[in-house]
């Protein structure tokens, strides 16, 4: 079980703040994205952008990072604070 969070424009496109993924673990961010893309066509499109950022347990990671059961994985667009 992996807790998945979405923020900002991505959250709005998916109409979803939080999702619980039940995929085999350990996995990678890339594989998790492929799993999520199967949800529907809108998710497929929104989650295949090259600019998508990812954090595991609130630390920024690359898409090749490992994901284990119990992780909190967040996806979001490039940040625009400050």
């Amino acid at each position: 079980m992996i807790k998945v969070l979405f923020f900002a424009a991505l959250r709005e496109r998916l109409h979803c703040d939080q999702y619980t993924a039940h995929c085999a673990t350990p996995t990678t961010v890339e594989s998790l994205l492929l799993h999520l893309q199967q949800h529907n066509e809108q998710w497929q499109q929104a989650l295949s952008g090259t600019e998508l950022l990812c954090a595991i347990n609130q630390t920024m990671v690359s898409h090749s990072a490992e994901v284990v059961a119990g992780d909190e994985v967040a996806f979001f667009p490039p940040v625009t604070g400050g």
């Binding site: 900002a8 954090a55 920024m60 979001f76 490039p78 940040v79 625009t80 604070g81 400050g82």
Partner: protein
């Protein structure tokens, strides 16, 4: 080094932060940055909503402060970032650095802002009288960050 980080809906008082930073013995140089909500692209900005990733924002800001500390001799770093709905002219962000050396204080303050702009999970949605839209990230912010990566 004193590190103070806050993510809050309430406004902050620049003067109080400055007074705190002044209290650091041996630090004769204090540099502050403040970012405000401004209407730069249109003349119809009615406000802005700052979304963030609760928990990660505080962590990211602390990480950035300690990253600055590892590069320069600093006495104190204060970072405050507001979230939620903000009107034009409102304060968004404060970064204050106290150091014994002026060059270190300037560099660290700019370094923190450049990292914050690229790595802290905040997102701006601008509201105009006609529409609302997510602010796009700027290439100039990536370029600013790249200067420090050596």
């Amino acid at each position: 080094m004193t590190v103070f980080v806050a993510v809050q809906t309430d406004d902050f008082c620049q003067a109080s932060e400055y007074d705190e930073l002044r209290r650091n013995a041996g630090c004769g140089a204090i540099v502050t940055f403040c970012g405000l909500v401004r209407d730069l692209q249109s003349t119809t900005l009615s406000g802005m909503t700052l979304e963030h990733y609760p928990g990660m924002t505080e962590k990211a800001l602390k990480d950035i402060a300690y990253k600055a500390k590892s590069r320069w001799e600093l006495g104190a770093v204060h970072i405050i970032h507001r979230v939620g709905y903000l009107k034009p002219n409102a304060q968004i962000v404060f970064v204050g650095v106290a150091s014994a050396h002026r060059a270190a204080a300037f560099s660290a303050c700019e370094f923190i802002m450049d990292y914050l702009k690229n790595q802290a999970p905040f997102w701006k949605k601008e509201h105009t009288t006609e529409a609302e839209y997510w602010v796009a990230s700027k290439d100039s912010d990536k370029v600013a960050l790249a200067r420090w990566e050596h």
